[in-house]
Symmetry: D2
Subunit: 348 residues, 4 copies
């Protein structure tokens, strides 16, 4: 049994970590922090956890956290980076679910997040926690930067095409839609049920913070010498709580000699426990991954034209955040990669 | 490991049984039947189960089912009773989620279900599978009649009041609301998203089939000599998938000498693994039990008047159907009662 | 054409007033105020109004408002009462949608709203704007206190029973459910889509501010000498935007001599343009009144027992607030009572 | 006052026609047909219409329909074409909301709809009823083929770009999402609330029947000599009732010399009563057109790259079907184009 801590446990990624960790056979959640709710029992805030956990929120304390085996940051961006210099000096290993260490180019991060970075010297030490790409580096990492939700769905969808240089990388399109839990648990008018139920809209079209993260991730897996990825990313807000659906478009470079895409995708993900390439003709639905850590993917070429369409679904709070964080932890500590994550999606 | 079968596995209680059983440490699902879908892989119909189960639906066959340790009926009413005479002659034990064996008065059953009963001679052998009332009888039962969803929420809510004869039993009110999955998976216009989303309505007010079941169950637990329960039951349809919320009203018989109801409820359910009496002042929400087998209950007396209000929530597919069926199975086979049922509700 | 003003136009009752008034043949909206949004075009805030209205929000100014024919207050409670002394001295007539002048007993108001009343001397001048009860007084009123949403649905449902003293008034039950727009447009965590979608709960069971308003209204219509109404009121929150459904319970005093309730209700509301008694056997749905000013009602006596059940639905923003305010205005100014209100519910 | 008939009035486009026509100042609905529901009062089927219409459904009869001024077909595809030869011989004018006469190439129609066409000789007489393109031809048309919902949102979005040959027409992408009412009112499992709420999916990616309609419409408005439009069309199903959101992608041909797209769109639609180009930086939401006949459009070029993104929203039942049909009727009969259509969207 390892001991885990969660910093910033009052948000949705925090409660999602708890939902999964309380049933993890090799982990004990020992500490959960929240400045605002210090002293409150976790189960009083989240009644779904009554009977599963008896902890109360505490003030974050590096001395305490540093003695744990692993610390998850489930905080808004800007928080983890400030505690990180002190925490990196302790024995614990760290999995940051926020955006603080995802982008290697500090200036780019500062531009998109519109603030100075609090620990630029540590950015290079962070391993980008997408197991399907970085599994080996994750095993030994001290600090994991967990991918964002849109970036996870988008990268897993484009990966086989870009690794094999089968499409024009310069004009990729990611048309994605997310449930409202992606916006977190903040009392903003924009996220009221009365503002977003029974409605659908695009947002952040002029520029969403996940764009540079996705472009960086996709460029990392391109073969050498190829024109770098350029992406048009249009996120939309769905009138529901959980789920991301990415509809990806790319133009085949050489449609006559294109390999069988279905076979290509199946081969690429054959050994991945959390990527499921659906049979030809079956399209994914977000409900098929609700509460599960699986990404389900379909690849098509409609009308046999040269536009390739990839559909990729995840639960934004699970594979898109907390589940993936636990998958990283499993890899880091040599546990079965699926430990604690064998949850079946809640359908219907 | 015991071997389990599911008859009629294509409906929502069937897929819910599978969601829970595939992670049950002591059960292997060996057979799942469906006349309509025989030959189809379960995971092709329910993609949430891809990677968790490799079975295909088969035609129901008593010879096969009779060799199993336990058979669940997840069929519409009228089906189980026809297979039951043959199946009761085999070694298997049976848990019927349908209404076929819930009502001991066969004539009453035939009136409410508007058809002759197919196995009236077996009705007396069935044990009503509400563990909080019948745990001992369940242990040795050959045939369990699993309670309905509304009856579970309603009986657990009224139980402490009626066992102690604290309220007028003749004019109880159960105002209940259910998610749409309670209506099953049938292609009816009434259940289309376009007909029931963004709307709320009562239904079956003139007479719902769960009324005689609830009245029977409540009368069973009344002390001897007391006027029998008379219930006004008004079900409503919620624009959501899962969850039952019962708001129960009763008139205190002797309000001056009423015991502390909070303490009474807490004591009654102190040892029940799946009944959670909320702290005074906390009201239950259906989301706090979504996908879990827990019933959460609050008891209040607004304005200190003599009307007692009990709020009781369950997930209709879990504690209201498949989870409770597994709880019964655990009791029957001497497993830990919570085995396979330690799922945390999916919140948010 | 009369000139109308709206104070506090940024909330949901404000935009609902505008939705209806922009198509009213005899009203011009001349002023709409908001301290927070002064200078912003209404249609920039509510794009549904683009092309229908060109006004911008202004600071509230009694000198300007006092010159109008009618002023609507669509403000939170506590606001109208502070402007009212000055405004009552002008020529305008006032329709207050807030709770400030609904309760005649100022001490009772102060207890439930937990603050001193700002204009106690004006409370007696206010006419309670439920046209089905107070039409004559409304015609000549200077100040209308528009009923709350739950009170409207509940009073219209109980009215025929209580006017005729057919039920025990001391133990009435109103089990009601509201869409989330009833909570207004405030950035609170409790009203986030992620907190209340896919869920259902009771709230305010210990005491909701609409309880004294409903009890006052019901007592007003009881015959002299009868025991005063005592109500248990349990509101619930629906995972949808608009609609109130009240399920009302009362015990018949003399079930053998009870008149035909269907006929009684039909007769009571025969001349009411906005109360629709459904045919026997038809139950109301909130979607049948979405965006319309109609209240639809059913009355039943399940199992021919002595509990009477009344079902009553309205749109909380229309008949429960802004539509009813306009109905009051039509009566006050001698317009056709249905002018501007002939909108058909949006179904599906 | 003209007299109108509706053939096939039990579906959602039928009730939407009625919602709008009962308040149209120059139209009386005289006949509404349904074979299945003949004899049933319309308001018994759709309680939202109680008090607004007293008609009952009747069997369709060309002799009766032929005497009317206008007949709307709100039928599934394949019905209108069979009645059309007889009806075209009468004095009435016809507005067909179905797909029967939208595609000029009869063979193409037969391929996509997988059945022989019942009146191929009449296809050439039909005018495609998109007022923003065909207003003059609509004025004098005997038979209008009303555009589909996706085609309306998509064509209005692409129009200014294609008319001016500003983008590569051969690789257009329309990523669109629709509320469930687009699938009509049929008792299919696929459309149950329990199957599609809380979920999002693409469908018909391999080939949707609206694809050839959109391609035909877009090719019609291209300048001569330009490569014909090729479109990748990916529809998605939203967990809500009404609304279409189209996210359109096109590659600018000459990004350095691209005109100001905002100004271009505003100019193109300046005189269109039902197309609203939003201010720069404002993105459309489907709720801003719920129940209204407006199409709201935004045009952007994210990151100043060469991919143009157009966002276009309509209510699929209003501008995407019944509202547009009435707009056509207004044009045909010389009424104010907005008569009966000045409805404000229901927000919130």
């Amino acid at each position: 049994m390892i001991k885990a801590g969660i910093v910033g446990g009052t948000g949705y990624t925090g409660v999602e970590l708890l939902r999964l960790l309380v049933n993890h056979p090799q982990v004990e959640v020992a500490v959960i922090t929240s400045r605002a709710e210090a002293g409150v029992k976790v189960a009083d805030m989240y009644p779904s956890l009554r009977g599963h956990i008896d902890l109360a929120f505490t003030e974050p304390d590096v001395a305490v956290l540093g003695e744990l085996d692993v610390v998850f940051f489930a905080t808004p961006h800007g928080v983890a980076q400030n505690m990180m210099p002190a925490l990196m000096a302790t024995k614990t290993r760290i999995i940051d679910l926020s955006a603080d260490f995802r982008i290697r180019d500090v200036q780019l991060w500062e531009k998109w997040y519109n603030q100075p970075h609090g620990a630029p010297e540590l950015v290079a030490q962070a391993v980008y926690g997408l197991p399907e790409v970085n599994r080996d580096a994750i095993k030994t990492a001290k600090l994991i930067a967990c991918p964002g939700c849109y970036p996870t769905a988008t990268q897993l969808g484009f990966l086989p095409l870009l690794e094999n240089n089968l499409v024009d990388p310069t004009r990729l399109i990611a048309n994605a839609a997310s449930g409202a839990s992606g916006a977190g648990r903040q009392g903003k008018i924009d996220n009221l049920l009365t503002e977003i139920m029974d409605s659908f809209k695009a947002y952040g079209v002029a520029g969403h913070r996940h764009l540079p993260e996705i472009e960086q991730g996709l460029r990392d897996i391109q073969p050498a010498g190829v024109a770098p990825v350029g992406l048009t990313f249009v996120p939309h807000l769905l009138p529901m709580i959980r789920g991301i659906h990415a509809t990806l478009y790319a133009t085949a470079l050489n449609v006559e000699n294109l390999p069988d895409l279905q076979a290509l995708y199946e081969a690429r993900y054959a050994n991945e426990p959390f990527v499921d390439v659906l049979p030809a003709g079956v399209l994914p639905q977000t409900r098929s991954v609700k509460g599960s850590n699986v990404c389900r993917i379909s690849v098509l070429r409609p009308q046999n034209r040269d536009t390739v369409v990839v559909l990729s679904v995840i639960d934004n709070l699970t594979k898109g955040a907390s589940g993936q964080a636990i998958q990283n932890m499993n890899i880091m500590f040599g546990f079965e990669e699926t430990a604690g994550l064998n949850v079946v999606a809640l359908l219907p």
